[in-house]
Amino acid sequence: MSDNLARNSEHYARPAHPAAAPTPRTHIEIVPSREQRKARPKLAYGLTAVLGIIAIIAAQLVLSVVTSQGAYDIAALQLQQKEATRDAQILTEDLDRMKSPQFLAANAQALGMVTNANPAYLQLSNGAVLGQPFGEQGTSAAGASALVPNALLNGVPLVTEQTPDAAAAEAPVLTAPVPVAENGSDSATPTPPVTPQNSPELPLQNGIPAPSTH
């Protein structure tokens, strides 16, 4: 046998068990050529693959954790939204009942206002008075007792009944200087304050004196 296989001659030479057949247990290995050695997959590739898998698993884990965290964030935000919606609803309900004609009329009356039953118009082009401005001083309809009930207004105080704290909060609005109407529409007041806005220099637009605005 002349080949280039390495043999373990020692092992070969040792006698086997007498009962067993002398089967030769040779360890044979092909010695790779240089080319073959070159062609053999390198450890780096294997490592890359394994690391890649680990990286993917790790990334998946991180993403999953982040998503779960997102779920908690969403839940928290949804709760917040729910509360905010409730806030908005409370305020809208308040506003809607404050806007009701019953409440406005009761407040206006509490502040001493009356409605004018007799409309009159001043035609600016020729100064004619249309309608009869001096009739009754007011109509009772805007007021007496609340004959158009609204159960939602039970216990809601009028502006004149508000506590001093609430009134103080309103005060800045009341004490603010009342701006003079700029288009001269306040000429109905008996002695109109002489202000630059009321000067006759204002141009007439369709018979109505109006400042030119841009």
């Binding site: 409730r86 409370i90 309900e93 809607d96 007799n118 409309p119 309608g131 158009v148």
Partner: protein, 600 residues
């Protein structure tokens, strides 16, 4: 040696058999779980970790012509408790009876119920009573209502008390921010949200929303798992119902009507404002009127709208219709002359008399209208056939429900199927508004027709239903019909202006600066037994400005015991007409009304 081999083989064989059996058991089990019962188990698993929630399909709003919400949907909360948990909690889980523990537990429970009751405006004792009653009935009682329909602020206050045995469930509810303003029209819903009256009922198909359902999975702490939400069925949001009503005007009209109705002791009343050139109802007031927020505060009969649902004999306001019809037929004009005695017995036996005794008056048709003479009007009315008058009434919209289609709307009754069923008295009575019935809405529509040059426009209350996707449905018809010629309408209008100027209420219904056409009515009311009662239904219908009519106002008061004449509605008519003209910035009339002689 051979035995050993055999026993070895047997062992191997039995092991293999055992293995096979085991394996097949596993395989069977696997197939059973993964294939046979897969769906069932999957569903059960999903059920364990998934929840379903309804997606709220909110009931739509009812808004007025300017978008003011008359009926809106809000969230309300039912507060309930677990009586069992309340008792167990206070005893700290100890079930055995022991005087000391009992007393201590009772004290804890009392304190807790007081804490819960305070924000609800209840007493601790009443909550304790609820618990005791529930426990007495069933010691394991896990559910009892404490309060229903509390608002959000109260719900939050209750939640802040933080009791382990108290829960709350939200549910949609209805709110009416303007209370009784248009409550007669809007109607109301029941405790469970079911439509019960008014437009809530009549337009339920527009307003009703349909709840959807969504399912999602939760973790152990009930936080939604991402990407698990799926919609089982979409919710359908209710549509927004738009009305032609102006809520501010509606309030004014209701207030003015209620004031005078109370002052005159009227049983009920209606007031209507209708736009002449569109047929839109701007205000329809009823007295008494329901506050939909507090339905129980109003008698059952007063919860609807009598303007639509009650028909009555209109009386003399009806003479405008008869006049317009006779003039349209060419059989009379405002200057046509008759002699009107206090009483006439007609050839067919009909006996007609006026409301107050007078001699033989030489009246023009205008004079007949001003004096509201039944004998005079009968002589004009008989100039055309009963059939022609009946056809005219139908063209004016009488005897059938208006285009509004209000729930339980009355059609009125033209006394049977027409002249063939009228008796001799009815043939004349129908000329001046007795012997037939109309609703207040129908009478307003008659005046709208006369004011609008004889063109009757469909009565509008609903301007449309805006669905959640933005499309508008249920838009009303707007095509008018020429009922009488423009000339006949104008002539009738001229006479109504003379009634306004020269009638006996001229001072009381005066609206300075405007030309107005109006007519009173004082009709006998049926007593319910086929005869007439002593009460009268007094009414005024009119419009302004008469030279270019824009608004019809019609006011009726039933049985005003303190003032049983048409002077009762006059101040209401005057106030409402003034308010309407002012509100809509109607330019005062220029030229005065043409003068027409009342006598000859």
């Amino acid at each position: 040696m051979a035995r050993t081999t055999r026993s070895n083989r047997a062992r191997v064989f039995s092991a293999a058999v055992l293995l096979c059996v085991l394996l097949s058991v596993f395989v069977v089990r696997l197939i059973d779980i993964q294939v046979v019962r897969a769906d069932e188990l999957n569903a059960a698993a999903l059920d364990r970790r998934s929840s379903t929630d309804p997606i709220l399909g909110a009931r739509g709003d009812i808004v007025d012509a300017n978008g003011v919400v008359l009926a809106g949907s809000v969230q309300r909360y039912d507060i309930f408790i677990s009586p069992k948990q309340a008792v167990l909690g206070s005893r700290e889980g100890i079930k055995e009876s022991d005087p000391e523990i009992d007393a201590k537990a009772r004290a804890v429970l009392t304190a807790e119920t007081e804490a819960l009751a305070a924000p609800l405006g209840m007493t601790g004792a009443s909550v304790l009573a609820i618990i005791d009653a529930a426990i007495a009935e069933n010691p394991d009682s896990d559910f009892a209502y404490v309060a229903k329909g509390v608002d959000t602020e109260m719900f939050r206050a209750v939640a802040d008390v933080d009791l382990a045995w108290q829960y709350a469930k939200s549910r949609p509810a209805r709110t009416y921010p303007n209370g009784a303003v248009a409550g007669n029209l809007v109607g109301f819903v029941g405790a469970e949200g079911e439509a019960q009256a008014g437009l809530e009922l009549g337009q339920d198909s527009c307003l009703a929303g349909v709840n959807g359902e969504e399912a999602y999975e939760t973790g152990a702490d009930y936080v939604r798992l991402p990407d698990t939400t799926r919609v089982i069925s979409e919710a359908k949001q209710g549509g927004t119902l738009g009305l032609t009503i102006d809520s501010d005007l509606q309030w004014f009209v209701q207030q003015a009507l209620a004031e005078q109705a109370q002052a005159t002791g009227a049983a009920w009343g209606t007031a209507i404002v209708q736009e002449v050139k569109t047929g839109k109802l701007l205000a329809v007031a009823d007295y008494p009127s329901v506050d939909p927020n507090n339905v129980d505060g109003t008698e059952g009969d007063d919860r609807g709208s009598r303007a639509f649902a009650a028909s009555y004999e209109p009386g003399s306001t009806f003479k405008a219709l008869t006049s317009a019809t006779v003039i349209d037929a060419g059989q009379a004009d405002p200057l046509a002359q008759v002699v009107a005695p206090y009483r006439i017995i007609f050839p067919n036996g009909a006996d007609v008399n006026d409301s107050s005794s007078h001699g033989d008056d030489r009246l023009t048709m205008t004079g007949v209208m001003i004096d509201s003479s039944n004998t005079g009007m009968s002589q004009f009315g008989e100039r055309i056939s009963d059939e022609a008058r009946y056809e005219s009434m139908k063209k004016f919209g009488l005897g059938r429900e208006s285009e509004v289609g209000f729930p339980s709307e009355d059609s009125g009754d033209l006394n049977g199927d027409g002249p063939s069923t009228w008796d001799n008295q009815t043939k004349y009575a129908t000329m001046f508004g007795q012997g037939l019935t109309t609703t207040a809405i129908q009478m307003a529509s008659v005046y709208q027709t006369i004011a609008n040059n004889g063109v009757r426009l469909p009565v509008q209350l609903v301007s449309g239903c805006t669905q959640s996707d933005g499309t508008v449905v249920d838009q009303p018809e707007t095509a008018g019909t020429q009922v009488v010629s423009p000339e006949a309408a104008r002539a009738t209008s001229d006479m109504l202006e003379m009634v306004y100027k020269q009638g006996w209420l001229a001072d009381q219904w005066n609206v300075p600066g405007y030309r107005v056409g109006a007519k009173t009515g004082t009709a006998q009311m049926p007593d319910g037994n086929g005869g007439y009662s002593k009460g009268y239904l007094v009414s005024i219908a009119g419009y302004a400005p008469a030279d270019d009519a824009r608004y019809v106002v019609s006011v009726s008061l039933a049985d005003p015991v303190n003032m049983n004449t048409s002077a009762a509605p006059a101040p209401v008519f005057q106030q409402i007409m003034s308010q309407v003209l002012k509100k809509y910035r109607v330019v005062p009339s220029g030229a005065p009304a043409p003068e027409l002689p009342a006598n000859w």
